[in-house]
C-alpha cells in the first residue's frame, strides 16, 4: 500500500460517496418506474396496477418502463407507448377526452347536483322550523288562563305562544 493515511482516507470517502450517489440514483429510477407503473392497469390481473401485480407480464412491463426511462423517454411518451398497444384501457385514470369525459363530467355533476339538493332541502327544513306552530285558539285560551292562575310573569309565556 502506498500513499499517506489522509490520502487513503480521502480515497475511501470518495468511493463511499460515489457508491451512495449511485445508490440514490438507482432508488430514484425505481421510484419513477413505480410512479408510472401505478398509472397502468395490469393486463392479466385487471383490477391491479402494473406496480402492484407480480405476474410475469407486469414484471416485464416495469422493465420496459425502466429501459425507456434510461433511454431518456418522458413519462408521457412511455404512457403513450403502452396506450398504442393496449388502447385507453391500459390507463387506470381514463383520459379526459371523448367518451371518457363522461366519467369526469358525471363525477363533477354529481357533486354539484348533490350540493344543490342539500341546499334546497336544508332551506326547506329551516323554513319549516321558522313557521309558527298552529295552535287551537281554545287551547291557547286555556293555557293563558292557567298561566294567569300561576301568578308568574305574564309577558314571557305569551311571547312563546304567539
Amino acid at each position: 500500500m502506498t500513499g499517506s493515511r489522509p490520502a487513503r482516507l480521502g480515497a475511501l470517502l470518495a468511493c463511499l460517496l460515489a457508491l451512495a450517489f449511485g445508490l440514490a440514483q438507482a432508488v430514484q429510477l425505481d421510484s419513477r418506474v413505480f410512479e408510472i407503473a401505478r398509472q397502468l392497469r395490469c393486463p392479466v390481473c385487471t383490477s391491479e396496477s402494473v406496480a402492484d401485480s407480480s405476474v410475469e407480464l407486469a414484471q416485464q412491463m416495469r422493465q420496459i418502463i425502466k429501459d425507456q426511462l434510461e433511454a431518456g423517454r418522458s413519462e408521457r411518451e412511455i404512457l403513450a407507448y403502452f396506450q398504442q398497444r393496449y388502447g385507453d384501457w391500459i390507463l387506470l385514470d381514463p383520459p379526459k377526452r371523448g367518451i371518457h369525459l363522461v366519467v369526469w363530467v358525471l363525477a363533477g355533476a354529481a357533486v354539484v347536483v348533490g350540493a344543490g339538493a342539500l341546499a334546497v332541502v336544508g332551506r326547506r327544513w329551516v323554513g319549516r322550523s321558522r313557521q309558527p306552530i298552529a295552535v287551537d285558539p281554545a287551547d291557547l285560551e286555556r293555557v293563558r288562563a292557567e298561566l294567569q292562575g300561576l301568578e308568574t310573569d305574564p309577558d314571557a309565556p305569551e311571547a312563546g305562544l304567539r
Binding site: Q60, Q63, Q84, Y86
Partner: protein, 182 residues
Amino acid sequence: MKRQGLLLTVLAVALLGGLFAYGLLRGEPDRDIPTALKGKPAPAFELPVHEHYVNQFGETLSLEELEGRPLVVNFWASWCAPCYDEAPVLQAYWERYEDTGVVFVGVQTQDRGKRAEGRAFIDLFGLSFPNVVDDDSAVSVDWGLFGVPETFFVSRDGVVLDKHVGPVTPQVLDAQLAALLR
C-alpha cells in the same frame, strides 16, 4: 309532489336495474377488448427459434423475413391449459393451408426459463410450423397481449387485421383465414 317523487324513484331503480342486468348479460368483458393494433403495422420482432426448426429457419426468426406473406401469430405458454386445446387445431389448419403461402408462427411467451417445457409442448402435438421463444415477454407487451392464448392475423402488407383472445376453434380459423387470403 309525492307522485313525482315516487315516479323519480321508480325511474332511478329501473335505470340501475337495467344497468345491472346489462352487466350480467354482456358476457366476459375481457373477451370484448379489441386490439389497439387493429389496422396498424404488426410490431417487429426477432426471436430465437425452438431447436426443432433451426435447420429450416436458422437460429432466429424475424417478422422482416416473413414480409409479403399473410401470418397467423399464435402466443402460447407451456402452463396454459387452453393452449393445449387449440394446438391440435392449429397444426391441422397449418397442414391444410401451408401451400397457400400463409405462415403460422407460434410464440412461447410469459413462460420465463421454460424452454424444455416448450419443447415438450411442441413434441406433444408434433407442431411443424415454426415456434419461437419470447423469454422475457418483451414481444408479448409489444403486441399488447393480455394473456395466453392470443392469436393475431396479419395481412401480406404487415397490417394487423384482427386478434382472437382464447383458444382458436375451426370456425375462427375458417373465417380469419378466408379474410387473410382474400
